[in-house]
């Protein structure tokens, strides 16, 4: 496919081709995709000019699922097959869903894994697959607009998402055939969208109230580095709760019980949402229930009444703001700007209370619906390599503490919340019984002290501990969190070196085999099969490797002896000669060889660049 080549202004002739990248805001209520074109960030619209894709998927018998506006329109008539707000179900088990505080109309069925599935006319589907449908729609939109395949995407998640929810989001992208370069926290994305062009040095608060989640982040922007100081929020609080509060009021007024038919409840929710939106500009809103959904009723609500209904919800967000400031060790008067993100920040009471709390007029110049996807697009453009290397850098944190279960069902924190990632921490434990040969490691996430109050992420057993007296064996458990905020845990017995390692697949996550089979299913209609995909992935990885070794050789050959350079060049040309063939195992083998002979070179280059970075720094000091 022909690609339209556009180079960034100010960049001149790009050293490599412009890669296509996009930022995706996968929201509870709405989703968007944005990209950087000609140096300008823009949200992409569909054929009918709409930017916003309602995050609603409707499954049909013998027909592909509908996504977005069409699905939303069918929600009232076909509630069981039309799934909205699936983000709330991501990374959740059936027990969690019961505690969501929402009555969901869907029929849940337990699957093979612990992940719940929803029964529809098109079969049982998991939240990951439902989200993947939304992502596929956005992928198609981006690729048809940009006229080529996306190299990679950045997908945003609420800062407050735990490990299971992040992993589920990444799995959904894999199922949709997208390469995720980074999961980016939504408030950080918003800060990027605002911060870069306004060269805003100082401390900023990002208040993000979306349809289903609330996030607050405190960031420091200094010389192009965005450092997240703290983040907090509530993963089950959002504009939907405002609608629900108003819907409950309407139901009480109209004499509707909460065990009414699903489609009637949906109708009331939809009416409540419309009234809420109207109250953004108007002092009162008329409410009219349609008789065809059960009860005919007419009434009116004033903004003042509405404010009373949602005041407690708004206060909950401010409690989280206070905690985030405490974690960042700053006071409200140090905050230079407050950025408002998410459609729910249009509610006047929210703006008023947030303004009072920070004693600042909140920033609302970028469309709160688009701002997250725009920041994500910017980060995607940087990560894919379309922008000069010394542009913005993001230093993010983990939102919730990670810990281990210890005696008495208590949680011992290993990595406290708001620690900058990537991070690795180790903790040593001893055996507590004579002759103990195995130890179960239970990994938890959350701030509370009791195991039952935290979220269980994974449980695994280290076996083969040498039998000794209690306290005789020493087990070191290491937590590693990567730049996406995803966790790997390993355990090692120190006297023997017996090791056990798990990539923390959340208890409610998918097995890799399940992802693969979903991927296969989703491609059964496409031209390429899994084999072709493997080949292409091997080729992409090989090209990437060749490119990076080429760059390394031309920049830093001086770090190598002649012999070393010859060895590398030989492996390099070997890979170049096979990488365009269709033998994926030959490509992988040659890649592995090149990888191996350049490992030491890469380490030397890294050390040299560290020295150089600080040398420049010292000169600046003088």
């Amino acid at each position: 496919m022909a690609l339209l080549q556009i180079s960034e202004p100010g960049l001149g002739a790009a050293p490599h081709q412009h890669r296509l990248a996009a930022g995706i805001d996968l929201g509870t209520t709405n989703s968007l995709v944005a990209t950087v074109r000609n140096g300008i960030v823009e949200a992409l619209c569909d054929d009918s000019g709409e930017y916003i894709l309602p995050s609603v998927v409707r499954y049909r018998e013998n027909a592909p699922p509908q996504v977005g506006e069409q699905a939303l329109a069918a929600a009232s008539e076909d509630p069981l097959n039309t799934i909205a707000s699936v983000k709330r179900l991501m990374g959740r088990g059936i027990e969690d869903i019961k505690h969501l505080g929402t009555r969901l109309p869907y029929q849940f069925v337990a699957g093979d894994s612990q992940m719940p599935r929803i029964h529809t006319v098109a079969g049982d589907v998991s939240p990951v697959e439902i989200s993947a449908e939304i992502l596929k729609t956005l992928k198609r939109r981006a690729e048809s607009t940009l006229g080529g395949e996306l190299t990679g995407v950045v997908i945003t998640v609420p800062a407050y998402f735990d490990d299971a929810q992040r992993q589920a989001t990444k799995d959904a992208a894999t199922v949709a055939g997208l390469k995720v370069m980074r999961l980016l926290n939504e408030p950080t994305a918003a800060a990027l969208a605002y911060g870069l062009d306004q060269s805003a040095e100082g401390i900023h608060a990002i208040y993000d109230l979306g349809g289903g989640t609330f996030d607050i982040s405190i960031l420091r922007m200094q010389k192009g580095v965005f450092e997240v100081l703290s983040t907090g929020g509530d993963s089950a609080l959002g504009g939907d709760d405002f609608d629900r509060a108003l819907a409950e009021w309407v139901m009480a007024q109209a004499g509707i019980n909460d065990d009414a038919e699903h489609n009637q409840l949906r109708h009331v929710m939809a009416i409540a949402r419309r009234a809420k939106e109207k109250l953004t500009a108007a002092d009162s809103a008329k409410i009219e229930l349609d008789a065809s959904f059960g009860v005919a009723w007419q009434g009116e609500i004033t903004r003042k009444q509405f404010n009373q209904l949602v005041a407690a919800l708004v206060s909950r967000t401010l409690v989280a703001c206070r905690r985030a400031m405490r974690d960042a060790h700053i006071s409200a008067d140090e905050i230079k700007e407050v950025v408002m993100v998410g459609g729910s920040t249009r509610v006047p009471l929210v703006r008023e209370k947030v303004g009072e709390f920070f004693a600042l007029a909140p920033l609302t110049t970028i469309d709160p619906d688009k701002v997250v996807s725009m920041g994500a697009a910017q980060q995607a453009d940087i990560l894919v390599g379309n922008q000069p290397a010394d542009d913005a850098l993001l230093l993010d944190v983990i939102p919730l503490s990670l810990g281990l279960e210890t005696m008495g069902e208590l949680v011992e924190k290993v990595v406290p919340r708001n620690t900058t990632i990537p991070v690795a921490r180790a903790q040593d434990f001893t055996t507590f019984k004579d002759g103990q040969t195995a130890m179960t490691i239970h990994v938890l996430q959350g701030e509370r002290e009791l195991v039952s109050d935290c979220r269980s992420l994974a449980r695994f057993t280290l076996r083969g501990i040498p039998p000794k007296a209690a306290g005789g064996a020493k087990i070191r458990v290491t937590f590693q969190v990567d730049a996406d905020g995803l966790l790997t845990v390993s355990a090692k017995e120190l006297t023997t070196g017996v090791e056990s390692c798990v990539e923390v697949k959340p208890s409610y996550g998918l097995e890799s085999s399940e992802i693969e089979s979903m991927l296969r299913d989703s491609m059964s209609h496409a031209k390429e099969d899994l084999e072709a995909r493997r080949l292409r992935e091997a080729q992409v990885e090989a090209r990437r490797l060749v490119e990076s070794v080429d760059v390394a050789l031309s920049a830093d050959a001086k770090l190598l002896s002649d012999q070393e350079r010859k060895t590398i060049e030989k492996a390099l040309s070997a890979l170049k000669s096979v990488m365009n063939e269709d033998d994926h195992s030959a490509i992988q083998q040659s890649s592995a060889v090149l990888q191996k002979v350049t490992a030491d070179f890469a380490a030397r280059r890294m050390d040299a660049s560290i020295k150089q970075a600080l040398a420049g720094h010292q000169v600046d000091d003088l």
Binding site: Q222, V225, R323, V414, Q480, A483, S548, T598, A603, M606
Partner: protein, 175 residues
């Protein structure tokens, strides 16, 4: 608890003088400069090995920054570098321990009385004591004739930090 087995000298990594007194703005700018070159975001399109290397280095740099930024862990790091082993739970300063008990009682009284002014006074009292500890650490480390006395100050600072945290969570509950 949080130390990976390593012999890294974090001062050297960030090219700062190996001493207790620290220039925090220089520390944070050195940190930013290093992350600019080692952060995994700089290696998204690099080979798998380089990505892994970047993750390790960025982890190390984050750790160095965290340890050096904090007045307590920086002292602990200096003791480690000088191979000074502190014996746990051997603080023999009855006066200090008595003062700690009094402060704790005071905190409990405030929890009952919900007197925020009193809590504010407690905060500044603890802060003063923390500062005194840090000043003594500074004196011990710059005198360079035996770092063993720093162990006591480290233990005291741990006490005080814990108390401060408890006072903070009380404040959170009360406001």
């Amino acid at each position: 608890m949080n130390d990976l087995p390593h012999t890294d000298n974090y001062f050297e990594l960030l090219q700062l003088p190996v001493q207790y007194a620290i220039d925090k703005s220089r520390l944070s700018s050195a940190y930013r400069e290093l992350q600019r070159v080692v952060h995994p975001d700089r290696f998204v399109n690099a080979s798998a090995h380089e990505r892994c290397l970047a993750q390790q280095k960025a982890t190390l740099v984050n750790d160095a920054y965290r340890i050096l930024r904090d007045d307590l862990s920086r002292a602990q790091h200096l003791l480690q570098l000088n191979q000074v082993e502190c014996q746990p739970h051997t603080l023999s300063d009855p006066e200090f321990l008595m003062a700690q008990m009094q402060l704790r009682e005071e905190l409990e009284m405030i929890a009952a009385s919900k007197d925020l002014d009193q809590l504010g006074a407690l905060f500044s009292h603890v802060q003063q004591q923390q500062q005194a500890c840090k000043d003594r650490l500074q004196a011990i480390f710059s005198a360079k004739d035996g770092f063993q006395p720093a162990c006591d100050e480290v233990t005291k600072l741990q006490f005080l930090n814990k108390l401060y945290e408890e006072a903070e969570s009380l404040e959170e509950r009360l406001t």
